[in-house]
């Protein structure tokens, strides 16, 4: 083919491509699949519904003394881990015993995420609306949105995995049951040496005790890829509404002055 012929052929191909692009059907109109009404919409807030057995609104403080028997920030008793998770756990325990942190992503400003974000000693500021319970963990301002308006779990196709997960709550008698799924696995740990798996499902059974001054949460975790059966641990918080939350970001320049967050203090 002559040089002119080659040029003509190239031009034809470009023109054909442009025409194909122009004629191709445009997918998507900008609309999402049908969604529940927003938790803050008047329509949803004003909807008639049964009165909840309790209102979690308050400032919940981690009860270190009472939680000591169930492992403190760890979730005791431990389940029987699958071999791959057991190997990670053993490595973490050996690392900590040797005086270093093991893959301490939280120290590098990754979120604690669920369930670890519930075990911090900083205030857990909780606000309950008719449609939603919002928990703000002061440390790094991690937020949980627990929907109690009867909606189903969000479609993972349009709501990707997250560190707090997708939480749906409902009442059973005097107990609030919160089902959390769709958790982000990247740099996300349940506790020392136990990574969050893709199939992790967390079912919390929350009760108010002591005249509303104690929050009891029996946390059941299921992940057939990571351990046998169910992993359950009960934790307690006490109400201290005299404390207001403050800012507590994890900031790189604060870490500059914390040698404990440096590579030399870690096994990454």
């Amino acid at each position: 083919m002559s040089r002119v012929g080659v040029r003509a052929a190239i031009l034809l191909l470009i023109a054909a491509g442009a025409a194909t692009g122009a004629d191709a059907p445009v997918s998507g109109t900008g609309a999402l699949p049908p969604q529940p009404p927003g938790a803050l919409s008047k329509e949803n807030l004003n909807k008639k519904r049964a009165k909840p057995p309790f209102d979690l609104t308050g400032n919940w403080m981690w009860n270190s003394q009472r939680n000591r028997d169930s492992g403190g920030a760890q979730f005791f008793p431990l389940p029987k881990f699958k071999p791959a998770v057991q190997a990670v756990y053993d490595e973490a325990m050996a690392t900590i015993k040797a005086g270093k942190a093991y893959k301490n992503d939280e120290g590098y400003c990754w979120p604690a995420g669920m369930p670890e974000s519930m075990t911090r000693v900083w205030p857990n500021q909780t606000i309950q609306l008719p449609t939603m319970i919002m928990m703000v963990q002061m440390l790094k301002h991690e937020i949980r949105w627990i929907y109690i308006d009867g909606r189903p779990h969000a479609d993972p196709e349009i709501k990707p995995p997250s560190y707090s997960g997708d939480s749906i709550g409902r009442y059973e008698g005097d107990t609030l049951i919160v089902d959390t799924t769709n958790l982000q696995t990247r740099h996300h740990w349940i506790q020392n040496g136990v990574p969050v798996g893709e199939k992790l499902r967390i079912i919390e059974r929350i009760k108010l005790l002591d005249g509303g001054n104690t929050m009891q949460n029996t946390i059941k975790m299921i992940d057939p890829d990571s351990w046998e059966g169910e992993w359950t641990s009960t934790k307690y918080w006490y109400r201290d509404d005299s404390i207001d939350a403050e800012e507590a970001f994890c900031l790189p320049d604060i870490n500059d002055n914390l040698l404990s967050t440096r590579e030399s203090s870690q096994v990454r």
């Binding site: 403080m61 981690w62 270190s64 000591r68 492992g71 403190g72 920030a73 760890q74 690392t95 900590i96 005086g99 270093k100 942190a101 093991y102 301490n104 939280e106 120290g107 400003c109 075990t119 911090r120 000693v121 900083w122 205030p123 440390l139 790094k140 020392n192 404390i243 403050e246 800012e247 507590a248 970001f249 994890c250 900031l251 604060i254 002055n257 914390l258 040698l259 404990s260 967050t261 440096r262 030399s264 203090s265």
Partner: protein, 132 residues
């Protein structure tokens, strides 16, 4: 200048480290030796009275060699320290200070604050028995 290490009840310290510490901090504290206390005497270089960890950088001068080393002191939350008497204006660069802290196990110049003696002789604890 550093003093000799002071041993503490080891089992108690390790139990506290494993169970309580991870919830207190935004990072693990396994790297601090809870069985020892080290004295760090020097001059304040940086005082950040901020959450989640108040921190102090203390410059320590070796009298014999003249070399200066920065020690990185990690402390509790603002509220935990405020309850123990600390304020944002408690320290400024150039102030003399003596810090007692739990040292890093690997020998780096870092420690977790136990208490500090200020230039006027006031002693302030790391917290008032609770971080929050």
């Amino acid at each position: 200048m550093k003093s000799e290490s002071v041993p503490l009840p080891r089992a108690l310290a390790i139990a506290a480290l494993l169970l309580a510490a991870p919830a207190l901090a935004h990072h693990s504290s396994a790297m601090f030796d809870a069985s020892k206390e080290t004295e760090i005497k020097g001059v304040v270089k940086v005082f950040k009275f901020e959450n989640p960890h108040v921190n102090i950088v203390v410059t320590v001068k070796d009298e014999k060699t003249g070399t200066a080393t920065d020690w990185f002191i990690e402390a509790a939350s603002v509220r935990g320290m405020a309850m123990a008497g600390w304020r944002r204006s408690t320290l400024k660069p150039g102030d003399a200070i003596t810090v007692v802290g739990r040292p890093l196990r690997d020998g780096q110049p870092g420690a977790s604050l136990v208490r500090a003696v200020l230039a006027d002789g006031t002693t302030l604890a790391a917290n008032a028995g609770r971080n929050y």
